[in-house]
Symmetry: C2
Subunit: 339 residues, 2 copies
């Protein structure tokens, strides 16, 4: 049975930043979404979807899953949400949740779900049988492309998805390999590598590329996480890098951004230095090359955006572009040229 | 009450590699150990400690804690051990455990421990309130020295402890900062950073250096983990590196070792390249310098050992030595010269 989401966006549906996971699904898996819930905007539309005020009002759209898609500080459930979650369960909806706090750790919700015969799915909950990598990552007969970047939250997942779609349009057997909750909700599989025990980051990444190939991918676009020079998440980044054993990297950067994490103590090095740093830190047994630069130019006027792309090309000598704004054509060409 | 360990080494007390945690404690915290348990060698001595065959026979040495110090494949309890653990609890001993498998996840042991009013301590169990680093690591008023290396299991913990001891002998307010189960058992505090959720590696490392300073350290020797180019553990290594925000690095290498993880696909780069790689990957806001090279020469004859030290000096232009075999003097001098 395919997923039919009621996106829970109470009080937040109008906020463009309201929930990375919900927004991601609405953008890249719109066929899975049937309605949004936000009592403050009941009766309105959001991007063409009906907004309902109560779970009961959503049932005529025949959802089978409620998506907890609102990012909250520290990843905790807003207490007021608990009642809403209980209602969803009572109405027979599975719950799917991308937050750090797990539904399946809440004894009351677990008991209620059993009673109503619905499933609680925590997208960030890692498999219980992870281990260190075995070396199988180096034997996957596919070209592996990892997005890396100058910071978090600059669109590495988006770039991976856009490149995967463009490659598919060209007839390539391409797979997007999700490594975070939003990618998992979009693609319906994956492991949130930042939620695994740190000993097993690389092992989780290995399992993902093995699975991406098993699903038919000859070209794998692995969703990157964090940044090698991010003061908080660099460990996840390097573990994912080594465990996924990419042949090629796509270096992502938000055009014009000067500091990692908006912190002036962490100036972002020039793109050419970032290219060298990433190539230098590759897995010894799998040298990786930066194939192209993906700029996120959303904050720039079009002429500035085009200029920043030209500058990136000139500085690095690599193809560059903003795949969301101007299409993924040039970047995919650059990648396919190296496959 | 200070810890008085009965080291559980059933069937393994004669094996020099039998248990990293137990061996570490016997070597660096001998004052905490009162006896070993190994029914195959009951009545013998090991490094001066009595070996007993049954828990009852150990009680006259007045232990208060049984140390599960045997490393097992995959970190699981040998099933036959469960009975021994139950006996220890019944005799009123706390249990301390360095394995991946947690005592506190075993409902039967937990219940038994409550009944007998003893404590179960899982050394690798992370604190429940970890988060990402706050930036406090950059404000710790101490000189932070991290051991890094060309591979796992080449003596980074040992080097950190030896340097800490030599610094203390010189009157420096030095602290060893434990990041793994053996270091934790030796020092009585710390966090096993490879066991935390990967999002929080750097946050755990930050907390450790903050705590090291709170304990009076003006010079902190942080126990390194893994290796930046290790195919399995590099994520832990980089997260620990960035989270502990060291000013200085001690590069550890097993003299003569050619491959990471004994895997020919992973040749260890020359030491001079490793120095450059580690300095290049420092936290942007905290450039780190390799202060010296610590060679582990245990597999070499003395003349070969001395020659390998000379070669390391010549290649890197840095002070080098084997602090276990030839004393930590030169390395500590090199560090203090940069404080």
């Amino acid at each position: 049975m395919s997923t039919r989401y009621l996106v829970l966006a109470e009080g937040k549906s109008g906020d463009p930043h309201f929930g990375k996971t919900a927004r991601g699904v609405m953008r890249y898996a719109p066929e899975k979404v049937v309605a949004l819930l936000d009592s403050e905007r009941a009766g309105e539309l959001q991007d063409g979807w009906p907004i309902v005020g109560r779970v009961d009002d959503a049932l005529r759209f025949d959802p089978n899953t409620a998506l907890v898609g609102v990012a909250t500080s520290g990843g905790r459930f807003p207490p007021a949400w608990k009642e809403l979650l209980r209602t969803c369960i009572q109405k027979g909806l599975d719950l799917e949740n991308g937050l750090h706090e797990f539904l399946t750790n809440d004894a009351e919700l677990v008991e209620l779900a059993q009673r109503h015969n619905v499933e609680l799915r925590d997208l960030r909950k890692p498999p219980t049988d992870l281990n260190v990598p075995t070396g199988e990552n180096l034997a996957v007969p596919a070209t592996i492309v990892l997005t890396v970047g100058s910071d978090c939250a600059i669109g590495k997942m988006t770039v991976s998805i856009e490149l995967d779609r463009e490659a598919r349009r060209r007839g390539v057997k391409s797979e997007f390999v999700p490594t975070g909750q939003t990618g998992i909700a979009i693609a319906g599989w994956g492991i949130a590598v930042d939620a695994v025990v740190s000993d097993f980051i690389a092992g989780a990444a290995e399992r993902l590329v093995v699975e991406g190939h098993r699903r038919g991918g000859e070209l794998l676009f692995v969703e990157g996480q964090g940044a090698l020079q991010h003061p908080q998440y660099s460990g996840v980044t390097l573990g994912l890098y080594h465990g996924s054993a990419p042949h090629l990297l796509v270096l992502c950067h938000q055009a014009g951004q000067a500091y990692v994490n908006e912190d002036e103590r962490f100036p972002i090095p020039p793109l050419s230095e970032l290219v060298a740093l990433h190539e230098r830190t590759a897995l010894i047994a799998r040298p990786a090359k930066v194939a192209c630069i993906a700029l996120n130019t959303r904050d720039l006027a079009e002429d500035e955006a085009l200029r920043s792309i030209d500058e990136a090309k000139a500085e690095t000598g690599l193809p560059a572009g903003d795949p969301v704004r101007f299409g993924a054509d040039a970047l995919v060409k650059a990648i396919l040229a190296q496959v």
